[in-house]
Structures are given as C-alpha cells and as structure tokens.
C-alpha cells in the first residue's frame, strides 16, 4: 500500500505526463496540498518509488532556465498505476458516507 505522499507524487507525475520532472512535480504537489514540499522529501520518495518499480526516471535535456542543468524526468509505470488505483479505491471506499464537517462545540462527529 502506498503512503499518502507517494500517492501525491504518483498523481502529480501522472497528471504531468511527459513533462513530469522534479521541479514540476514539486509545484503540482504544493498547489494540490497548499503546503511546502521539500526537495529532500521529493527526491527520497522518488528513489523509493523507483526502487519499488512504481516509477522510472531518466535524465532529460539541459535547459537555460535551469542554468544548463538537466531534468530528472519521471514516468509512472504500469505497476505504479495499479498501486495508485488501489490506493485511490481504498480511500474512496473508506470515505463513502463520510461527511467532513466541523462538529459544533461539545458535539460528536
């Protein structure tokens, strides 16, 4: 089973498609969650996902806006898609019938 940050990363990479690389994925995660995503968390999670076979990475071409440095391009594998789907289904099933509303003071959820 994926962790939630792993799922966020896989989702961002899947959404970006061929344009999925470190900085773009980070931007996607920050936009989705509204909180800062550290490079350390991003790259170590990326390594872990690659070791599990859920993503594959390759070095892309260097661009001037990156100071001539290459991108680490990310692609979600079929195994990664399966895992992300399983995670999504589990969360959807677990959330069925749940209404997330702030309870009144002294009330129960």
């Amino acid at each position: 089973m994926l962790g939630e940050f792993e799922y966020l990363l896989l989702s961002a990479a899947a959404r970006l498609g061929d344009e999925a690389y470190g900085a773009a994925i980070r931007q996607e995660i920050e936009t989705a969650t509204g909180s800062r995503c550290s490079i350390g968390a991003l790259y170590t999670t990326l390594d872990r996902l690659e070791a599990k076979g859920f993503v594959s990475t390759r070095m892309g071409d260097p661009t001037p806006q990156r100071g001539g440095r290459p991108k680490r391009m990310v692609r979600v594998t079929a195994k990664g898609v399966e895992e992300a789907t399983a995670f999504y289904n589990a969360v959807t099933t677990a959330s069925r019938g749940v209404v997330w509303a702030v309870p009144p003071a002294g009330g129960r959820v």
Partner: protein, 179 residues
C-alpha cells in the same frame, strides 16, 4: 557566492542527483536560505539512508576506531623513537641508549616505518571500500581517532624522553664530575 555555496554543498550528492537538484533549485527561483535548507535536508536524508546497511558501521567501528587507534600507536612509537634519537644525538652527540646497537635501532625503525605504510594503506583501502558514499564520515572519525591517539602518545613519548634525558644528564654529571 550563493550558487557557489550551493555547488559546494551539492558535492555531497551523486553527480546525476546534484545537477538535477541544482537545476530544480535554479528553476524554482527560491532564495538562498530556503534553497540551503532544501539541499541540506536532501543531503541528510541521503546520508541517513546510507547508514541503514552494516558496511559503514563496520568501517566506522572496526577501521575508524579500532584500526585507527592501533595505527596511531605504531605512528606514535615511530615518531617517538625518531624524536628520541634525534634529540639525544643533537644534545649529546651520542646514540640514545635503547639496549641495542645503532644499526639494530635503525633496522627496527625501518620495519616500523614499513609497517606504518602497509597498515595505513590497508586501513584506507578497506575504509573506502566499506563506506561508499558515507566515506567522509568514516574518514573524519578515522582521522580524529588517529590524531587524538598520536597527540596523546607523542606527548607521553616526549615526557618519557625528557625524563630519560634528565636521568642521562644526572648520570653524566655524576660520572664525570665526581671523578
């Protein structure tokens, strides 16, 4: 200056990682402090991951501390021996009396020097082979252990030397001035 500092820190990463991460930082356009925090965070995570295997621990404890301490004892014995001989010859113009002939003393010091070279090379090779990317930590510990023990044993050797030198002087004074 900023990019220089980031470049220096990024050397702790693998070359492929280094370029991708520095590129991401450049593209995000964040300030130096958030960039440094991000980079340091990644370096710490990467280093921590290296220490989840047994090899760096063996290098740290087995080579860095145990072999480092014994190597420093050999080095201490060697420098102490050379120092004693040099100071005695310089002050009194004689060979320091160690109970053996100067030729045997020289042979002993030469063997000690050879042992020092072989032991140093072997320790360095094993340390580097076992440590991998965690080498800078194990090397740091190894050098600290070596330096601490060498300083300690050199100090003892020097103290021992001056005690022996004072005894020599007393003996010479007693022998030549009393007759």
């Amino acid at each position: 200056m900023n990019s220089w500092l980031l470049g220096v820190l990024a050397r702790a990463l693998e070359p492929s990682d280094r370029h991708a991460v520095l590129g991401d930082i450049a593209e995000s356009g964040e300030g130096i402090f958030p960039a440094l925090r991000d980079l340091l965070g990644l370096i710490i995570r990467r280093q921590a991951a290296l220490w989840t295997t047994w090899q760096p621990w063996l290098a740290l404890l087995g080579i860095g501390i145990v072999a480092g301490a014994s190597l420093s004892r050999i080095a201490g014995g060697f420098t102490g021996g050379i120092f004693q001989q040099w100071r005695t010859y310089e002050k009194y113009g004689v060979h320091y009396a160690t109970g053996v002939t100067p030729r045997q003393d020289f042979a002993f010091l030469a063997c000690l020097a050879a042992g020092l070279i072989v032991w140093s090379w072997t320790s360095g090779f094993v340390l580097q082979s076992l440590s991998g990317r965690a080498a800078w930590v194990t090397w740091l510990v190894f050098c600290l252990a070596l330096w601490t023990c060498v300083c300690f044993s050199s100090q003892r050797s020097a103290e021992h030397f001056w005690e022996r030198a004072a005894a020599c002087r007393r003996f010479a004074t007693h022998t030549f001035w009393s007759t």
